[in-house]
């Protein structure tokens, strides 16, 4: 009896703990007096809302257009470069949005080499010729789409790969063309994965501060920061953050409702792969171009520019870069491990006991992803500092030395914040993997007298190894790029590469920020390559 309920109870405890910072922010929001609200409402709020919606719509369209076709092409069709693209298309994931924004601004704005050459070659002055204004809403949409589409690509691709071929085969034997099968079968079946990728990209977009702030696009999140930093009003900032959360919840509910009772796991075990659709001639060329474009603009060009700055123009990195790289790497690794283990426990508990309270608690435990890192950091800081005060009081009561801030002043705070912020990423991937496994396997395991834990360890984890690795990869890379929470919560004398890059960039030394930026990208490549190696081993293609 305990074993059966133990898992659910454990999962709920974890979920509530993860939600603690969100709850703290929520209760902070109750303290706001509303005076500032009137001012915001009269002046800037409508602009924030409109801009946020535009940005969401633009980035949503962008990541779908870049992510889904590339996922389909690399998993279902055969054309020159397919294998290489299948992992290379993940590379933009290693590029933080604020860094790609700085980089393209350096290349494309009025003072950059492109426009300067135009003026020098033609003799025209600024304003005499038309040029894309990179620092604009359009620019922000393009930048974010370029680095966020891999979420959609990654999840859509693994869904396409894990779809049992038979459904497609059956479709074809019923007279569907391959393309018809894509629209009528493969896409609808991959929908949960595509939506999961899309919602990750959109939540990341909502939480972004660095890019929009640099481009001068005022969104809801810049509004939160203006309220917190400018007006120094934490309560009103918390209220805005709660507004943001409510919006995300609404979207999630809408999506849930729209697919209500549909079930997406495959009915047969066969994972045999259909033959790839061969593409040749102009079709192959188009496929090649479609895959090359996001890679070129999302990774190659900005990475080349960063590399150029880092090698030829920036102040060279000191030896402390080894320490920075190690700090970044170990933090990201730890956080990824924690987040993914928790995600497995939570998703499995939900699968094991799919009742409303549990699934609801688990669903909202991922909402930290839509909140800006700074807000999460405050939500983490408050309960941890409170616990620290209790620990200190206890030590003093026992006559021991003051232990200092064991939780809020150490990496515990950072790891907690990362987990809260990125659990959604891990949950998305792990749940998608778990959903693909037929419940009859669980029933079989249980009828043989195995405990849920044993079934999880022996059946599910091996079967969804790919999804688990994907989750580890994304959380790792996300933590590597994470800035605002790291900035606030890090202990004394502890820096990461993202912090170093940010400090130089925000001191308006973009070129000097290049070495640290390129290091983030390089360290981020490690798990991308590892994931690729592991997927290749699993699949003959």
């Amino acid at each position: 009896m305990f074993k059966r309920h133990g898992l659910s109870a454990f999962a709920v405890v974890i979920a509530v703990f993860i939600l603690l910072p969100v709850i703290v922010i929520g209760s902070y929001a109750m303290l706001a007096d509303g005076a500032l609200w009137q001012h915001l409402f009269d002046t800037v709020l409508s602009e924030y809302l409109v801009n946020s919606l535009l940005l969401l719509f633009g980035v949503g369209t962008g990541v779908l257009l870049l992510g889904v076709p590339t996922a389909w092409l690399t998993s279902m069709c055969s054309f020159p470069g397919r294998r290489w693209f299948s992992w290379a298309l993940l590379l933009p994931l290693a590029m933080p949005a604020y860094i790609i924004a700085y980089t393209y601004t350096g290349i494309l704005d009025y003072a950059g080499p492109v426009q300067t050459s135009i003026r020098e070659l033609t003799g025209l002055g600024y304003g005499d010729y038309w040029f894309f204004e990179i620092r604009s809403m359009g620019g922000a949409i393009v930048m974010m789409s370029l680095v966020l589409y891999p979420y959609v690509y990654l999840l859509a691709r693994s869904a396409f790969l894990e779809q049992s071929v038979n459904s497609i085969e059956v479709g074809c034997s019923l007279g569907y063309s391959r393309w018809r099968a894509l629209w009528s079968l493969a896409l609808p079946m991959a929908r949960p994965a595509i939506i999961a990728g899309l919602s990750l990209a959109l939540m990341e977009t909502l939480a972004d501060y660095g890019t929009v702030q640099y481009f001068g696009v005022s969104t809801f999140t810049t509004g939160i920061f203006r309220t917190f930093y400018g007006y120094g009003d934490t309560a009103a900032a918390a209220q805005l953050a709660v507004g943001l959360l409510a919006f995300v919840m609404l979207l999630v509910l809408l999506e849930r409702y729209s697919r209500r009772r549909a079930r997406y796991h495959s009915a047969v075990e066969s994972k045999a792969r259909a033959d790839l659709i061969p593409l040749d001639g102009s079709k192959a060329l188009i496929a090649f171009a479609l895959c090359l474009a996001p890679l070129l603009f999302g990774f190659m060009i900005p990475a080349a520019q960063l590399l150029y700055w880092a090698i030829f123009e920036a102040q060279p990195l000191g030896w402390d870069f080894v320490e920075l790289a190690w700090n970044s790497f170990s933090l990201a690794f730890m956080a990824a491990l924690i987040a993914v283990i928790l995600a497995i426990i939570l998703s499995y508990a939900k699968r094991n006991k799919p009742i409303k309270p549990i699934s609801t608690v688990i669903a909202i435990s991922g909402f930290g992803y839509a909140l800006p890192g700074t807000i999460i950091a405050i939500g983490v800081l408050i309960p941890l500092a409170w616990m620290d005060h209790s620990i200190i009081a206890m030590f003093e009561g026992l006559g021991w030395d003051n232990p200092g801030l064991l939780l809020s002043g150490s990496l515990v705070a950072l790891l907690f914040a990362y987990t809260v912020r990125f659990l959604a990423v891990a949950l998305g991937s792990v749940q998608a993997g778990l959903d693909q496994i037929k419940p009859s396997l669980d029933h079989a395991g249980r009828s043989m007298g195995h405990s849920p834990w044993a079934i999880l360890r022996q059946i599910h984890v091996p079967l969804m190894r790919g999804s688990i690795l994907t989750a580890v990869l994304i959380v790792f890379v996300d933590v590597l790029k994470e800035l605002p929470a790291t900035l606030i919560l890090r202990p004394f004398n502890f820096n990461t590469m993202a912090v170093r890059a940010y400090e130089l960039a925000s001191d308006e030394r973009l070129v000097d920020a290049a070495p640290a930026s390129i290091m983030i990208v390089l360290v981020g490549l490690i798990p991308v390559l590892m994931l690729h190696a592991s997927i290749s081993r699993r699949r003959p293609h």
Binding site: A111, Y126, Y231, T234, S330, H389, L411, I488, P491
Partner: protein
């Protein structure tokens, strides 16, 4: 798995070591909103000469302030450093600072550049004049900040976002000199004259002026000095096209109040545990060698007399500064942001 275990072990070890460095005896712990590159070398110098170890966390001033508030009496930070006065004032209001009268600092730093109740001390001075394109602006047309609202500047001004605290402090100073209404119409006029929607930092505005996007901007002098001293030809090309105009230097009343200045500064935290070390550090930061370092490395004006400034700063010439008590910038900060919101200054 062995590797993973090692990783886990070492990460946690590092974490707890970090938690404990702040506890040692001869140390001072600093929360700094000045960037690491602009404070660490001085702190290292201080450690080398005194043997006092300095532990540092850098970050956004408001975030560090929040951390101080939340940590309360358990905080390990002894010194809070910011790069503008509004945040020092906010920290004072939040009750996380301790008033400490340090005779050495009171004697060397002018009254206007430190808190009247001894809560904080200005350590470097930043001036925010008008910077213009030499080839397109007749310097005779420039007079005051307020005059930038005139119709002749239509489509010729670049400004950084109002999100930026230096602009907030500029407006806060104007509120003191001109009152709410005049300030409001000044910034409305100036925003109407913008050549482009605000984006980027001070350096970006300077580059925009040089590239011909606009003709004038308002920026801190050290950004221009940095371009002048840069080893890159394209930076020097930008700098060569620009010149500094010191506004509000003559005329009547507010038009004669002087150019806007701000300070970066430091304060004792209320619950700091290393009082003597913190005092030694503050005295060091206001000493002649440290002041000379700021002037040389980041082209900031010293707050004490008799310290040589950099060649670039000398080139900008002498100017009269707005003698306003800087704590007023902190007092007026929220009002300034409200006016900027109303004026549509993004």
């Amino acid at each position: 798995m062995n590797l993973i275990n090692k990783l886990i072990f070492s990460t946690f070890t590092v974490g707890f070591l970090c938690a404990n460095v702040a506890q040692a005896a001869d140390v001072v712990n600093v929360y700094s909103a000045r960037k690491e590159a602009l404070i660490k070398p001085l702190l290292d110098e201080f450690s080398a000469s005194t043997g006092i170890e300095v532990n540092l966390v850098t970050g956004n001033a408001d975030a560090l302030l929040k951390r101080l508030q939340v940590e309360g009496s358990a905080t390990e930070a002894d010194i809070f450093i910011t790069s503008d006065v509004a945040r020092l004032h906010r920290a004072k209001e939040a009750g996380v600072l301790k008033a400490v009268a340090l005779p050495v600092l009171e004697a060397s730093i002018p009254q206007a550049l430190r808190d009247s109740e001894h809560y904080w001390y200005g350590l470097t001075l930043r001036a925010r004049p008008i910077i213009y394109a030499k080839d397109r602006v007749d310097v005779g047309q420039l007079t005051t900040y307020e005059a930038l609202a005139q119709a002749q500047w239509q489509g010729r001004i670049c400004l950084r976002s109002s999100q930026n605290v230096y602009n907030q402090s500029l407006v806060a100073a104007a509120i003191h000199a001109l009152g709410d209404e005049t300030t409001q119409s000044w910034i409305e006029g100036m925003v109407n004259n913008l050549a482009k929607s605000p984006s980027g930092g001070d350096t970006d505005q300077l580059k925009a002026v040089a590239a011909g996007v606009c003709d004038v901007t308002i920026a801190n002098t050290y950004y221009l000095a940095r371009l002048i001293n840069s080893s890159k030809p394209e930076d020097q090309a930008v700098a060569n096209k620009l010149a500094v105009f010191w506004p509000n230097q003559k005329g009547e009343g507010a038009a004669n109040r002087g150019a806007h200045v701000n300070v970066s500064g430091a304060a004792f935290t209320k619950y700091g545990k290393h009082y003597n070390e913190a005092q030694a550090l503050l005295e060091y930061l206001a000493s002649a060698p440290a002041q000379a370092w700021y002037a040389k490395i980041n082209n900031e004006y010293p707050v004490v007399d008799g310290v040589e400034v950099s060649q670039a700063l000398k080139g900008f010439g002498d100017y009269k500064m707005d003698p306003i008590d800087l704590e007023i910038l902190g007092l007026n900060n929220r009002q300034a942001i409200k006016l900027m919101d109303r004026a549509g200054w993004k």
